[in-house]
Amino acid sequence: MTTEPRVDDLLRELAPQVLSAVVRRYGQFDASEDAVQEALLAGATQWPNEGIPDNPRGWLIAVASRRMTDHLRADLARQRREATAAALLPPDAFNAPGPDDLAPEEDDTLTLLFLCCHPSLSPSSQLALTLRAVGGLTTAEIARAFFVPESTMAQRISRAKATIRDSGAPFSLPPASERAERLAVVLHVLYLVFNEGYTASSGDELARTDLTTEAIRLARDLHRLLPADGEATGLLALMLLIDARRPARTLADGSLVPLSEQDRSRWNRAQIDEGVALISRSLAETSALGAYQLQAAIAAVHDEASTADATDWPEIVELYGLLAAVAPNPMVSLNQAVAVAMVDGPAAGLARLDDLTSDDRIAGSHRFEAVRGHLLEMAGDAAAARRSYLAAARKTTSLPERRYLESRAARLGESAAR
């Protein structure tokens, strides 16, 4: 008798393998995906009671194939009614494979990832489809994690599948000329999945933490499939290094603890060691560093400091400089300003912020005001810092961030009154 989490893990692990085997055999990504979901559901309900079959992958492929056969029969009947030729199907399409008659053991997970992150889909659709088709999550689980009704998520997924079908995208790896660009989308989608999970501070925390776990699992898969790709390695390292801080990031009441005030003894040491090892090797092996590698390197510098004061800020300033050159982005400039303030003092950091005020992408955001408040507080200007914190609090749409910013402002209010 196996326990349920083991069944869940196994089903999620097998989901992309089963789906790609079924798509290889029958084509029709959208119908295959439905069939595999039904097979996964059958496994989730039957295996905890009846035990896991000897060949779980074959079992799932057989069940999904039966569903596909039913689907194709219905399709064929419809086509007959419309007097259309039936000779389009592969000759053995109606024979579900036995457990020993499986698709070759080649791993199509990468092909599947590329398909789910197809450029014709919007980012939110890429995210949802990847979690379902590659991650093996149910629509209900995905909907819960994104705080939307199941019907909304179901529509989003079915729409995404229809878009893939209509695009005529083949089930094969993208041509070499498009590979790098398409891989960047895949990495971005996994990063978004991770962020969705990581930013949860309370509420439906279990469902959200699940997303971080899922993102790390998928990034691990990707790294296994592309061990020589620096950015795939960088992304996995980045996730491990950031997720390692999760136990210290929130208090029991859900309030946020900034990096500088976290209890570092609660960080996940094993995860930090793994992340540091991955990124160190990757940095040594790659000549042109990418944005995920550099962000992982920055996270590693933070994670390796035993106290906030021991942080190697000059190293961080330098890494942000490299990052700004590779991936210029106002958020990077903002973080760079903080690092500069830690090295050269708050006035130098505030001067960097002044350079950013002309950038509409960032000057109106709550983060800009929050950082300004932080640097003004460092500089000892309590009244101005308080104004910035309150401006940031009004602009954020995150409840925990708003509470945090208001508490910073209130603290300064008290000290100003004293």
């Binding site: 919007s122 980012p123 939110s124 659709s125 949802a128 994104f146 705080f147 939307v148 009704p149 909304t152 998520m153 179901a154 529509q155 989003r156 997924i157 729409r159 962020n195 990581y198 930013t199 949860a200 501070s201 309370s202 509420g203 959200r208 990031r249 929130t250 859900g254 946020l256 603890v257 900034p258 990096l259 500088s260 903002l334 973080n335 300003a337 903080v338 690092a339 709550h366 983060r367 929050a370 950082v371 408040g373 932080h374 940031a392 954020t396 749409t397 995150s398 409840l399 925990p400 961030e401 708003r402 945090y404 910013l405």
Partner: protein, 119 residues
Amino acid sequence: MKYMVLIHSNPQLWESLPKEEADRVLNNHYKLIDEMKRTGELIRVEGLGWDQTFVQLVNGVPAVTDGPYSEVKEHLAGLFQVDVESIDRAIEVAGPLSEYGWVEIRPVMEDVGDGDVTG
């Protein structure tokens, strides 16, 4: 990003519209709802009845009052909650609903945040 789209309209103006015009506007609403359902961007949609009941605590007891807005001609006629990629998409979606009034778009606060607010 989740947004609440609040549709404000003037009930007197609405009542004075010829039937074909009112039908045309309503049809635009239905078309939009269908489209947003298909894309998976619609979370909920509600039309509101015209009866307005304003309640306020008076000496600790909820009391029905005239309300603060007796001079205002517009009222909240309906609301959409959507989950879209950006504010630009929200404006694109909500814009056509403002024919006889205006729409107000507000971000929905969420219980998430990465704690990275000070860099």
